[in-house]
């Protein structure tokens, strides 16, 4: 059955995904950073006995896309039938947001405005007269605070009302006379052209003036020459590009509307967030707090993870003796059961204790808005390795999971910067790899080596960035929105953590258990020996590690955590700490595992985003880098 489609469109960080989460049963990723949503997410919702398809589109500043994420939204709006647009507007940024609203109205698609973050606006002393805005734009305007679900019921009822009971098109805002004349001339010419979907011909007439490439993509049969004369006329009259003429007119309208519908009451004393910013972005103190932040971040994860793991793992390792007698009676069953047990014990006793604090801290940190400040602070440093600060966001996401981090590279406008960032993200220790670092350090080396490994990996990324940037031209400059600092919501943090833990239990744990069982079978049938012999030249001769660890590297391609789950199994010991590795071996093993190859999910997404050739070259590059680094550490530490 074909459901009517409602799309959420708005500028980055306006709260679209938060609203989507409230409206749907899907939990989409949210944070206080522009560009968190880079792909389309959809869900079905029931409203008054009707079912609608609701779609969360990546944020965009205007319908003239500047990066691949914005292109996703524009392409969707122009190439799909949309029944209603919910334009999510950040009330604290009314003027800039209305510019996009005006552009969306030009599409001629029914629209409702969700005037979001009203609480934030009043905190900044801004009062908005919703009714006046509704009267001017001639479309429903619903005040919302999506984070707390306020106004959402009213919003969705209004959407239902607009869709089911018909809709009168909003009045298109008029440009100055000579621009209007040109729009009318082009609109006349468009009469013979078939306009796809339910887009108004006025939208394409305006686009033919301001950004003809967008229009030509959809209007394949349109004769370009027809619009050229009218466009040239505008350029001659204004002595500037058609894009700037239209942008200024929209800006002027938006300013006028904002002036009419809002007032800035006596501005309250400088909010605490701004005082905090003066420290966090200070040319000296800013870097001090950044360093402090990273140190605290890793110490907390390490300490909490070690504590929880210390409570669970020893208790779990007392259980295998219950099935020990099976080893003599039915060895195959014993290997299967042991594989199953080691998989569960590894997931719950080793992986989850580090994963949980990592998720909670990352979620709290994302919601504060500090991420964009880090991007700015590190921009100068990133320039030295051939990138700019916008790559920081995908990098930081990479500490959670490489897959969304690769998608997040879509917020980078320049293809060259995007490619280098994509390649380097594969070296960022994701939560799975961090778990490997924390677990091995906790068992063999201690927290100082954790920090050392972490900074060594960052150094490798910097060196690789420098190497890669030699093959490309100079990076473009950073243009990045710095959202206001906010207190993170504990409710959102709890929900996000709950969702990600569920996802981990549903997606990762079965892999860990199955992999562990398969390794048990390998050992039963003697296949592990063949694999270990195959990898022996690398594992034993080059890296100086026990031969038995060779087979775990294959499973690490499925999930990185499998390596620590299976290492004890492969070495035939009951506890991870009994592996018997020396400090040097533990470090070499950790470094190699972090760098050698991304997991299978990353591999697939990397292929999709950057193509097969890049994947193959990057894989060869990372295996070489991992081997060289492992060898380097072996030589240095055994010297």
């Amino acid at each position: 059955m074909q459901h009517k489609t409602i799309v959420l469109v708005g500028q980055p960080n306006a709260g679209k995904s938060t609203l989507f989460n409230v409206l749907s049963d899907i939990k989409s990723s949210t944070s206080n950073f522009a560009g968190t949503t880079v792909a389309i997410k959809q869900s079905l919702i029931n409203v008054n006995f009707d079912t609608y398809k609701i779609i969360d589109l990546p944020g965009l500043y205007s319908l003239n896309p500047n990066d691949p994420a914005e292109e996703v939204t524009v392409n969707f709006l122009l190439n799909h039938h949309v029944d209603l647009i919910i334009n999510v507007v950040d009330s604290t940024l009314l003027s800039r947001s209305i510019e996009l609203s005006i552009e969306l109205i030009e599409l001629g698609i029914p629209m409702v405005i969700a005037l979001n973050m009203q609480d934030e606006a009043s905190r900044y002393g801004v009062r908005i007269y919703n009714q006046k805005l509704k009267d001017i734009l001639k479309i429903p305007v619903i005040p919302t605070i999506a984070l707390f679900g306020k106004g959402v019921k009213d919003l969705i009822d209004t959407c239902d009302h607009v869709i089911t009971r018909g809709y009168s098109k909003p009045e298109f805002l008029k440009f100055t006379l000579h621009v209007e004349n040109s729009i009318n001339v082009i609109q006349e010419d468009l009469k013979e052209t078939q306009i796809p979907n339910n887009i108004d011909s006025r939208f394409y007439a305006i686009k033919l003036i301001e950004n003809p490439q967008i229009a030509f993509k959809s209007l394949k049969s349109f004769d370009r020459k027809k619009s050229e004369l009218a466009t040239q006329q505008i350029q001659i009259e204004h002595n500037t590009d058609g894009f700037e003429v239209i942008a200024y007119e929209r800006h002027h309208h938006a300013m006028k509307i904002t002036h009419l519908v809002s007032e800035l009451k006596k501005k309250k004393a400088q909010p605490f967030a701004e005082k905090l910013d003066s420290v966090l972005l200070h040319p000296l103190w800013g870097y001090f707090f950044l360093l402090l932040f990273f140190i605290v971040y890793f110490i907390v994860i390490f300490q909490v993870g070690t504590f929880i793991s210390g409570l669970i793992e020893p208790a779990m390792q007392t259980l295998p003796h219950y099935y020990e007698p099976l080893k003599l009676i039915s060895p195959f069953l014993w290997y299967t059961l042991d594989g199953l047990f080691q998989g569960i014990a590894g997931s719950i006793g080793i992986v989850l204790p580090y994963f949980l604090p990592l998720l909670i801290l990352t979620s709290l940190f994302e919601d504060t808005g500090y991420m964009s400040r880090i991007a700015f602070l590190l921009d100068g440093l990133f320039h030295r390795i051939g990138l700019h600060g916008k790559s920081v966001a995908p990098f930081i996401m990479g500490f959670g999971c490489t897959v969304p981090a690769l998608y997040a590279t879509r917020i980078i406008e320049n293809e060259r910067d995007r490619l280098i960032t994509g390649v380097l993200i594969n070296f960022i220790p994701c939560s799975a790899r961090l778990t490997v670092i924390f677990a091995i350090s906790s068992a063999f080396t201690g927290p100082i080596w954790t920090a050392f490994i972490f900074f060594f990996v960052l150094l490798i990324i910097a060196i690789n960035g420098k190497i890669l940037s030699y093959f490309f031209t100079k990076p473009t400059g950073l243009i990045l929105e710095i959202p206001n600092l906010k207190l993170p919501s504990l409710r959102t943090t709890f929900k996000k953590t709950q969702f990600k833990v569920k996802e981990f239990l549903k997606v990762a744990v079965p892999y860990l258990i199955l992999g562990s069982i398969v390794l048990g079978w390998f050992e039963y049938f003697g296949a592990s020996k063949i694999l270990n012999s195959f990898f022996s030249p690398l594992v034993t001769n080059v890296l100086g590690l026990p031969e038995q660890l060779g087979s775990t590297l294959i499973f690490g391609f499925l999930r990185k955590e499998l390596i620590i789950v299976m290492a004890s199994q492969a070495m035939g010991v009951k506890s991870f700490s009994q592996l018997g590795l020396t400090t040097a071996q533990a470090l070499v093993f950790t470094i190699f595992v972090i760098l050698y190859i991304p997991c299978i999910s990353t591999f697939a997404v990397f292929w999709k985003e950057f193509g097969a050739k890049t994947v193959v070259l990057t894989t060869i590059f990372s295996i070489t880098m991992a081997t060289l680094c492992g060898l380097f550490f072996k030589i240095i530490l055994n010297f």
Partner: protein, 77 residues
Amino acid sequence: MCLSDAPCNISLKILKINSEMVTRKKLLSMGIRPDDSLIKIFEMNWGGVIVQNLTTNSTKVALSKSLANDIIVDYAA
């Protein structure tokens, strides 16, 4: 003068943006446009700046040194 050379915490007027068209489009869509007033809030030693458009009371925008060099400003009246 270019934005890099302008002092912090003083109201400035944007006179011209000398960047290439793609960058100019991006700056326009983020609210950095000629004739608007802005204030430079922070400046890093390596040249990056954070500005805020005073005309639209918009959000803060971070710009790298190369872009700050391309934006020509004057003291607002």
